[in-house]
Amino acid sequence: MKLAAVACAMFAFVFVVMVPLYDVLCDALGINGKTSGVAYTAVPAAVDTSREVKIQFIATNNDGMPWGFRPQVTELTVHPGAATDTIFFAENPTQLPMIAQAIPSVTPSRAAGYFHKTECFCFDQQPLEGLASTEMPLQFVVDQDLPKDIRTITLSYTLFDVTTMAGGTIAAR
């Protein structure tokens, strides 16, 4: 029956087309502020010292996440093309070992495609023993092609408790 086949095809369509298509579109257009989930290999390029871009850092805990989580500095001024390092602090106040996953989001979302992370704690899950604390590194480059009208980029991290779902196989972004 052809129509039954259409129904099955539409069911499959949701999984094999809509989900990846959504990811592809969001990546390509940067429309939901998602940054790339893989480390950026730096392209040697001149540092554009004629421009300054303000980078703001925000750290938020997801609902029910007990960790302490904050950036070392809340604001940096960088030149496009220059690799910059900063640190986020995390502290597990509970008695039990936990695993966390930070999810980044960039505002304005148009800037997401121009904000390259060469090293980020958000690429991996972060395990932490009970009552332990750690410093988590972040290195990034702002692309020289960043549109001229963008003078401030806000990078927001939300920290999720993934202790129960951490199988190590979940793609971290």
Partner: protein, 526 residues
């Protein structure tokens, strides 16, 4: 088919094993009316709680379960099955076919519905309560934060989806293969046309809904992260998938209603339908556009401006074919020999109130304005004008219109007219004030509200009780008609009624059109 029997089997097995389109249609109609009463009961609980500000009758958690189940039961249990029932009864009779193309599947698609709804209703008695995340079941409310009963909800949705898909396949197969000789596509009654297009929409989008709930199931039980940001998913993806189903769904509900009104208005205007071909094309245009407007339900999720604009313009475009339809109905009545029996009253009520709902829809389509209207009672008022005054009024009109043909007995006309006027007034008293409280900022799905909304809410609740009570009168009228209504034997019943179903004896015999009727060469529509 060896055993050639002429009447229905006796007893319960007639209904359990029937493959007769009239029996199955009847069961669909009764089942949907039962669900209408159930969903209506939930609505009465909601309105009773909102009668006064503050918390009086129910816990907030239970209130959320009521709003959720009211929406689910009304959409999937009352409106959709009622139109499938109508399709079962009427499509074979309208196109001159002896039965549906796939009668055994027809039986199955009805009989999986009651267990599906039993499963959904049983969640009310489970630990943690029934689903409480709204009928749109946005993730993560429906995944991370849902009660354990959500799994039963997911399977219930699967079952309803399978039932709808089978019903639609049956309707498409019937219309494509079983038309009487000479019944070309452009001679089909408009009710058949609207259902033909609706069935294609259903086959296309019910599997998408099944996909969405399957992803929820996997997120909840199998550790995937389709809608969980922690694992790389995205909650907004849920809204895109849901509304890719959800927007065509609202046209699935309203298109058969358009079909009914397009049969009733010409009959009581004693004129052929104005602009038959344009009606067909407008229906098709609405169906196609319905696939590219879904994100107008989610203007506030943070879409780029280009997206907002695209969905805004595409949504406004839908007003064009819809306007064509409204003008065609009005033109059909223009200089007609009008009479105002109950079916006509409900159809005119549909026309007036649906148009109001259409206008508020246009207001909501304007993205910047929608930021204010989003998730307020203005939206609630809008979709009740199109769902209740649209779909339910047209369904009521259909029951009064065809009931004499089905039963061979005439309903009580006075009681029918009283039912209409109480419904019409009750409906407007319920939902018109909700426009005002919505514009003033009262959010939907909240069991309490600010004091300045008290008067309008009390008015709304009184209207709702009146509207609800008038449906009991409808039930009484229908039962009284079946049991002891005045007998009708005229084949045409209504002097302006046109179409093959009105050439059959009244009441319609158990088997009809075993020999295909002859369709004359002249166009059936002016």
């Amino acid at each position: 088919m060896g055993d050639h029997h002429h009447g229905p089997a006796k007893g319960l097995s007639r209904w359990l094993f029937t493959t007769n389109h009239k029996d199955i249609g009847t069961m669909y109609l009764w089942f949907s009316f039962a669900m209408f009463i159930l969903g209506g009961t939930f609505a009465m609980i909601i309105r009773a709680e909102l009668f006064q500000p503050g918390m009086q009758l129910v816990e907030p958690g239970f209130f959320n379960q009521m709003t959720t189940l009211h929406g689910l039961v009304m959409v999937f249990g009352a409106i959709m099955p009622s139109f499938v029932g109508l399709a079962n009864w009427l499509i074979p009779m309208m196109i001159g076919a002896p039965d549906m193309a796939l009668p055994r599947m027809n039986n199955w698609s009805f009989w999986i519905l009651p267990p599906g709804f039993l499963m959904l209703a049983s969640t009310l008695f489970m630990e943690g309560g029934a689903p409480a995340f709204g009928w749109t079941f946005y993730a993560p409310l429906s995944t991370t934060y849902a009660a354990p009963s959500v799994t039963f909800f997911i399977f219930a949705i699967h079952v309803l989806g399978i039932s709808s898909i089978m019903g639609s396949i049956n309707i498409i197969a019937t219309i494509m293969n079983m038309r009487a000789p000479g019944m070309t596509y452009m001679k089909m009654p408009l009710f058949v046309w609207t259902w033909f297009i609706t069935a294609f929409l259903l086959v296309a989008v019910m599997p998408v809904l099944a996909g969405a709930v399957t992803m929820m199931l996997m997120d909840i039980h199998f550790g995937t992260s389709f809608f969980s940001a922690a694992g790389g998913g995205d909650p907004v993806l849920f809204q895109h998938i849901f509304w890719f189903f959800g927007h065509p769904e609202v046209y699935i509900i309203i298109l058969p209603a358009f079909g009914v009104v397009s049969q009733v208005i010409p009959a009581f205007s004693r004129k052929p339908l104005f602009g038959y071909a344009s009606m067909v094309y407008a229906t098709a245009a609405i169906a196609i556009l319905s696939f590219v407007v879904w994100a107008h339900h989610m203007y506030t999720v943070g879409m780029p401006v280009a997206g907002e604009l695209f969905f805004m313009y595409a949504t406004m475009l839908i007003a064009v074919p819809t306007g064509v339809k409204v003008f065609n109905w009005v033109s059909t009545m223009w200089r007609g020999a009008l009479s105002f029996e109950t079916p006509m009253l409900f159809s005119i009520g549909f026309l007036v109130l649906f148009t109001i709902g259409g206008f508020t829809g246009l207001m909501l389509s304007i993205a910047p304005a929608d930021f204010q209207y989003h998730d307020t009672y203005f939206v609630v008022a809008h979709f009740h004008y199109v769902m209740v005054a649209g779909a339910v009024f047209s369904m009521t009109s259909a029951v009064y219109f065809w009931l004499p043909k089905w039963t061979g007995r005439m309903y009580n006309e006075t009681m029918g007219k009283v039912h209409f006027w109480i419904s019409f007034v009750g409906f407007n008293v319920t939902f018109f004030p909700q426009h005002f409280v919505g514009l003033a900022g009262m959010p939907r799905r909240v069991p309490d509200y600010a004091l300045q909304f008290a008067d309008f809410n009390m008015m709304s609740s009184i209207g709702a009780f009146v509207y609800g009570a008038s449906q009991i009168m409808f039930l009484y009228n229908v039962i009284a008609t079946i049991v002891s209504g005045e007998k009708v034997s005229d084949e045409q019943v209504w002097d302006g009624a046109e179409g093959l179903e009105w050439t059959l004896p009244t009441p319609a015999p158990y088997h009809t059109f075993e020999v295909p009727p002859k369709i004359d060469a002249t166009p059936a529509h002016g």
